[in-house]
Amino acid sequence: MKARIVARADVLKIVDLLRAQGYEVLAPFGGRGRDTCFDTVTDENRNAIQFHLANPYYPPKRFVLPPIERLFKIRKHNGTLQIEPTTKAPRRAFFGIRSCDVAGIAHLDRFYLGRDFRDNYYEQRRKNIFLVNLVCTDPERDIGDECFCLCADTGPAAREHFDLQLMDLGDEFMAVAGTPAGEALFADSIFKKGTEAHVEKRRVILAEVRKRFKNTTSWFPATVRYVSQGKILEKTWEEIGRRCLECGGCTYVCPACTCFTVSDRQSGPDEIERVRLWDSCALAGFTRMAGGHNPRRAVHDRRNRRFFRKLAHYFIQRELSVACVGCGRCAAVCHGDIGMPSVVEMIRRATAETEKIPPQPA
């Protein structure tokens, strides 16, 4: 991978370069406190782009997988059916996407484009997306109370899946190219050659940031093992289920959740559109069949489902990617405090109890 150095004063010129190439650039902007969001960069707001701020509640997932997306228009005309697929795939660049969210998009790639069937709506949109990853280096502003990317092994600096990676070294940024498209940007004169001292500075900053995480949940890998081996007791799932308010919030803020439902709606006289919408395994109707039979009726069965899908070794192997990227958003939004870090902790406590080895007689 090639690296370059960009002066702090020049770094927003990367946004200009991308906009000049026809990209709609989405970047993080700050409101008050944790109130941050990804928004389209315009001439007016360009200078308000922030580098260090709380990662927005809504991951940029919605720009690759819209919450509501039309699949087809269906026209009924003189007794015939015309089914016209509709795709929208704007050229978009995410500027300042965090490493966890890069891993989230990589997971969506594995899921939607992998195995026997390729989702061509996702594929076309994804092909037009350029990722400028920003490494989390500010322990106060970048790293939230719930972040555990260290443990999910996705951050604070992504190792792959970005086109360009930026890291704040103080007066300068280090830029690393992850793809030929990213490397092509280096042709611009803002990118200067770096020195060994820059590499060393990057190493020191990363080593320091790693120590400043507030929440590491180091039982994450062990939990993967317990879940995969079916060692988690039903009463632990029940305890987790009792705290679930079934709002679906965790799935809507998750950068790696993939489930959707499909719905038809009238969009004009003789015209119907078929749309897909994000769905959530937390909702009671998720598995309810026509006639009312619901194989997953109990709340804890549905909670069990979410964590099993994310943590079971079988699925990790199936997609060669984990459906949890350690962003901590589920923990930040959950009213019942059963985000991933809490669940890992509850499983740790319950398992430690059952696995307690009785003292051997002397």
């Binding site: 699949l71 087809f72 989702d119 499909v262 119907i272 069949m289 006639g291 194989p295 699925f315």
Partner: protein, 280 residues
């Protein structure tokens, strides 16, 4: 499959005729508007399913009761939700849309040289009909073929013309039962599993595959009976049903434990079902 193919795109189909089966259940004969699509679809295997679109209402998964050895394509559908209700209201000549076939289906070649035991309850006969017709059309490939089928009442026995035909056919032992008797029924009364103990019935245990499909309660008891008779878990196969939106392993609704019913199933051996890690 073609990498650029739109996996969610249903193809227009025409309803040819509708035949009443039991109460609330009808069989819908149809074909694709495009003969090429029809040809492609005809490659389906017994046990696979298709996604049926009623535009403005939605899409639902439906088993394929015809055997690939038959010339017609049809669905047998019970009116149970909004989509099936919309389908039930269609008149011959009406347009709807279908995509598929999906799922693993039964690989009938794997059962060549074996005894086949079909055990169905109620509308569980719909997905098994395909296998039965296929097996009878390739009769010399299989040893004994037995059918055990039961419904609540005599009025609820499905595919009656087929059942009569199978009862009279030499190549197949067909045993019917009902839970509750009614006027004019002089056959067996009792749950499906009681047929195994009927005088004159012997179920071969060695070199046998049992195909089981029916309501959950019947499924549980029949499996118990078959295991008690000595059938191994790997030789009991079934087909599962789930709420599904996509049929191609993306929407997430049909996932049971470690399996997506739509792409890993719907056909599973009993051994696989037990290893899913979640109740069916």
């Amino acid at each position: 499959m073609n990498a650029n193919e739109n996996i969610y795109l249903p193809k227009p189909a025409v309803l040819d005729r509708v035949v009443d089966d039991i109460a609330e259940v009808k069989t819908f004969y149809w074909h694709f508007e495009d003969p090429e699509e029809q040809k492609k679809f005809r490659q389906f295997r017994p046990g696979q399913f298709a996604q049926v679109s009623l535009f403005g209402v939605g899409e639902f998964p439906a088993s394929l009761p015809p055997s690939p050895t038959e010339n017609e394509t049809f669905f047998t559908i019970r009116q149970v939700g909004s989509c099936t209700e919309a389908l039930h209201q269609l008149k011959p000549g009406a347009k709807f849309a279908v995509r598929g076939p999906y799922g693993n289906g039964f690989r009938m070649e794997d059962y060549h040289g074996q005894n086949l035991v079909f055990v169905a309850g109620g509308i569980g006969l719909i997905p098994l009909r395909s296998c039965i017709v296929y097996a009878l059309a390739n009769r010399d490939q299989f040893k004994r073929i037995q059918i055990f089928y039961g419904s609540k009442t005599p009025k609820e026995l499905m595919y009656l013309p087929n059942l009569r035909e199978w009862e009279q056919s030499d190549g197949v032992e067909c045993h019917l039962t009902v839970d509750r008797t009614a006027n004019g029924w002089n056959g067996h009364v009792g749950v499906v599993g009681s047929l195994f103990k009927k005088p004159g019935v012997d179920v071969p245990v060695h070199n046998t595959t049992a195909f089981v499909c029916g309501p959950p309660i019947m499924f549980r008891f029949v499996i118990k009976d078959l295991l008690a008779m000595g059938l191994p878990e790997t030789r009991i196969v079934s087909t599962l049903e789930r709420y599904m939106k996509c049929g191609v392993g993306k929407c997430g609704h049909c996932c049971i434990g470690v399996a997506y019913v739509c792409v890993d199933g719907p056909v599973f051996t009993y051994q696989q079902i037990q290893k899913l890690g979640e109740d069916i």
